[in-house]
Structures are given as structure tokens and as C-alpha cells.
Amino acid sequence: MFKRIATSRKARLSFDFEGHRLEAEDGDTVAAALLLAGERVLRSTAVSASERGPFCLMGVCFECLVEIDGIPNRQACMVKVLPGMRVRRQRGAARVGST
């Protein structure tokens, strides 16, 4: 669905999404890299568990929330991919304190 609009000579890097290895370019946001990889559902809502994905891509709508390296509710559109980053879908409300 999404294509990168310009070829670049930026460094390639890989990260983990739900246990799968995905590729990104240096400077990509987590949301952009996931959309490019065809991932459209990044979270389920806390109230009805309905599916959500990136919408505004500018830090406003909070629809792209993911868990990054164990920290819940990160905005995927506001965080740049780093090598080896571990990203998971945010399923419902953040769970803290019980583990």
C-alpha cells in the first residue's frame, strides 16, 4: 500500500515487531516503517478492544500507540527506529505493576 517516495543512501537497519524482523532506514519513524511493511493495526483500544492504526502521523491522535522496549503507550509516529528495537502492539490499556 505504501511506497517509499525517494531512494536514499541512508543506512539500513533492522528491528523487531511482534517477534518478526523488519527493515527500516535510518531516520524512519516506527509508524512509517511499520506502514511500509504493511502493518496497519498497531493497537487495540482500552474500552472496546477495536483495532487502530496510525492516522495523523504528527503526534496528535494517539492512534498509533505501541510498546517499545517494554515501555507501553509510545507514539510510533514520534519515535525513530533504532537498530534492534523491540516493538509490540499496544493491546488495550497499558499493564503495569502486576509483573
Binding site: 482500552a46 517494554g70 515501555i71 507501553p72 503507550n73 488495550g92 490499556a93 497499558a94 499493564r95 503495569v96 505493576g97 502486576s98
Partner: protein, 376 residues
């Protein structure tokens, strides 16, 4: 503009004024609530939301008993309020914990709990000091830094904002009327009652209740009373929402119905300043994160400060005027805890025009000394 009449005028539309007005409307009284407007300091909007018994009234047994009476009334009060208005104040009598991070804190707490046990009576009080292991069983994710604390089954919490909204809805369902932007400029005798002049018109009633928080200081002398209250700033931080993990509130951290964590309990004597300040915010966050380390994973989404309405000894003021029959002053810094008693126990006393004898202890006369009468 025609003068509007009612049985009672309540000056102040915050938690204290609204709870009294709701209680009056509930027993069929006509009530006019005069609210200053959004320029007011609005302590009710900044409240942490505890319904707290275990430590209230150290040094004043009447206040300890009044607080407990309110906590005992809260379940009935919250149920009726939600039933009548459809707005739940999200009250939970879940018990409450005060956590201690050092031996000094725990020793001071142990001494306090023992004093309060004497005040309430051992059978009735039921609060006790718990060690780390007991607390860890009650509170998931409790930090290693917590060495012990105290717990009371009579404590709980509620949403101050939902409570305020429910009280306003409830008073409007009865014979209550609310007027915003009605800053009071004068109170004068009018036959057997009073005429109150405001920025929103003139109102008249048989009785006047001053429940205007810090503004009571200027209003009380208009009816022969005094309200020597001062602001004591408190700051609060709130996190993003998370799945429910805390089964009960603590004095410093509580998880709301919506899932956010409130962190607070700072005390600053800095006049009428209501700004959030990084040094105090950092101290609040540090204590909260030591108490519940999982909070480090959550983002703080809002912070605010509000002004407690404090008397010289920290206890409430309830007084009826000797020179102006039917005029009352009410000041406290526990608008949530005392809401049950204000609505269901205080309002009927005001409706009949007389406080119970035991309320003499809450008179502002206790701040007077012979050499300095009526010191501001």
C-alpha cells in the same frame, strides 16, 4: 433586576458549598448558590480525591469524629447521589494505605496511629500499622523502598470532578438554583433575613451560608464572623491511563476509575501562587516512583497546583453568627472527605437555623487570644 428569594443563600459553588446546597435541596429547601466564577481559586478542581479518616483530627477529637461520621455516610450519600443524578462520584470504600519510606516516617506514623486509636476508641478505629510483607500483599508492584505503613478500612477515594458535577446536578433537581459570575460584594440585613448583592444581581434569603473557601476571609466579617484561613499550595501529577492495578488508594498515589495515577501530597506556603514548579514536581515523582517503581514506565500527561483552604490549626471552621442569626461560616480543606457529612448531617442543621452544640469546638473563636482579639 428583581430581587430573587430563597430559604437559604449559599456563597460558594465548590465542593463545600455544593454539598451543603445539595443537602438543603434534598430536604425541600429553596437554595440559591452564588459562585464567584472562573476567577475563583477552585480548590475543588484540584483535589486529590481521598475520603480519608485514619489521620484526620490529631489534636481535635471532634474533627476526628466528624470525619469518621462523613466516611460512614459516604456509601449512602454516593448511592443516592448517583441514583438521583445519573452521575456517579466513583466512590470506593476500598480502605486506604499511608506508605512509609524510612524508619523515622514509620515511627512517627506508628505514634500517630496510636494517638488516633485513643481518640476513636480501639473497637471503632480499626486502623493499624502494617509491615512491608503485609502491605506488599495488598498493593501489587509495591517498591522495595517501602518499609511499612498504616491501613484503615474506613478510608477510600472518589472523583472530585464527578462529585462536583453530581452535586450541581442534584441541587438543580431540587429547589436549588445556581448563579455563576456572582461575586458577592455586600451582605446586609433584610427584615429577619439577608440581602446579598453580587455582580449577577441581588438575592435575599432567611439564611446565608458562607462556603467560599479562601474568600470567606473577606466575607465573614459582613455577618459578624471571622474566617482566618490561608492558602496552602499542593501540587499533583497525573499519568496516562493504565489497566487497573491498585485495589485501594494511598496517601501519595492513587489510581482513578479511568486508570490514571494521581501523585501528590506536597505542602507549600507560597501565597496565592498556583503554578506547577519543577522542584516540587520532581520530589513528588521521586517518592511515587520509589513507592511504586512501575510508575516509571508511564508518562505524566498533566500537572497542576491548587490551594488548600487552611485555618491556623489545620482544622475546619463551622460557626453560626451570634450577631447575625441565620448566618453561618464553613471552611475546611477536605471537601471530598466531608461531602457526605456536609450534605446529610450539616445541611439539616442549617435548615433549622442552628448547629449542634458539639460544633462549638469548630468556632473560629479558638484562634483568638485575650491580648490579640480578632487578629487577622
Amino acid at each position: 433586576m428583581a430581587v430573587q428569594h430563597a430559604d437559604t443563600i449559599v456563597v460558594g459553588g465548590g465542593l463545600v458549598g455544593a454539598a451543603i446546597s445539595y443537602g438543603l435541596a434534598k430536604i425541600g429547601q429553596g437554595v440559591i448558590v452564588l459562585d464567584e466564577g472562573d476567577v475563583a481559586f477552585r480548590a475543588s478542581r484540584g483535589n486529590f480525591g481521598l475520603v480519608w479518616v485514619q489521620s484526620k483530627g490529631d489534636g481535635m477529637p471532634e474533627y476526628a469524629r466528624w470525619t469518621r461520621r462523613s466516611a460512614d455516610l459516604w456509601p449512602e450519600f454516593a448511592g443516592e447521589l448517583a441514583g438521583e443524578t445519573g452521575v456517579s462520584p466513583h466512590y470506593y470504600k476500598a480502605g486506604g494505605v499511608h506508605t512509609c519510606l524510612s524508619e523515622e516516617e514509620l515511627q512517627a506514623r506508628t505514634n500517630l496511629i496510636e494517638r488516633m486509636r485513643q481518640v476513636h476508641g480501639p473497637e471503632r478505629y480499626e486502623a493499624r500499622v502494617l509491615d512491608r510483607r503485609e502491605l506488599a500483599e495488598m498493593l501489587p508492584g509495591l517498591g522495595e523502598a517501602v518499609i511499612g505503613g498504616s491501613w484503615s478500612p474506613h478510608d477510600g477515594h472518589a472523583s472530585p470532578l464527578h462529585l462536583l458535577r453530581a452535586l450541581h446536578a442534584g441541587l438543580l433537581q431540587g429547589r436549588g438554583r445556581y448563579h455563576a459570575d456572582a461575586r458577592v460584594t455586600a451582605i446586609a440585613r433584610d427584615g429577619s433575613g439577608y440581602r446579598v448583592t453580587t455582580a449577577a444581581g441581588v438575592f435575599a434569603a432567611e439564611r446565608v451560608v458562607l462556603a467560599a473557601g479562601l474568600a470567606n476571609r473577606a466575607l465573614a466579617p459582613m455577618v459578624g464572623l471571622s474566617a482566618p484561613v490561608s492558602p496552602l499550595k499542593g501540587q499533583i501529577l497525573v499519568t496516562e491511563r493504565a489497566a487497573t492495578v491498585l485495589p485501594m488508594p494511598t496517601a501519595f498515589v492513587r489510581q482513578t476509575e479511568e486508570g490514571t495515577f494521581l501523585m501528590g501530597d506536597s505542602y507549600e506556603d507560597s501565597g496565592f501562587d498556583t503554578a506547577s514548579r519543577p522542584n516540587v514536581m520532581a520530589e513528588i515523582a521521586r517518592r511515587a516512583a520509589r513507592t511504586f517503581p512501575f510508575l516509571r514506565k508511564l508518562q505524566v500527561v498533566r500537572a497542576w497546583a491548587a490551594l488548600r483552604v487552611m485555618s491556623g490549626d489545620g482544622f475546619p471552621i463551622y460557626e453560626q453568627s451570634r450577631t447575625h442569626p441565620g448566618a453561618f461560616v464553613v471552611n475546611c480543606h477536605s471537601g471530598v472527605t466531608l461531602a457526605g457529612a456536609h450534605a446529610l448531617a450539616l445541611a439539616p442543621m442549617i435548615a433549622r437555623g442552628r448547629l449542634d452544640e458539639a460544633f462549638a469546638a469548630f468556632s473560629a473563636g479558638r484562634f483568638d487570644v485575650q491580648a490579640h482579639r480578632d487578629v487577622a
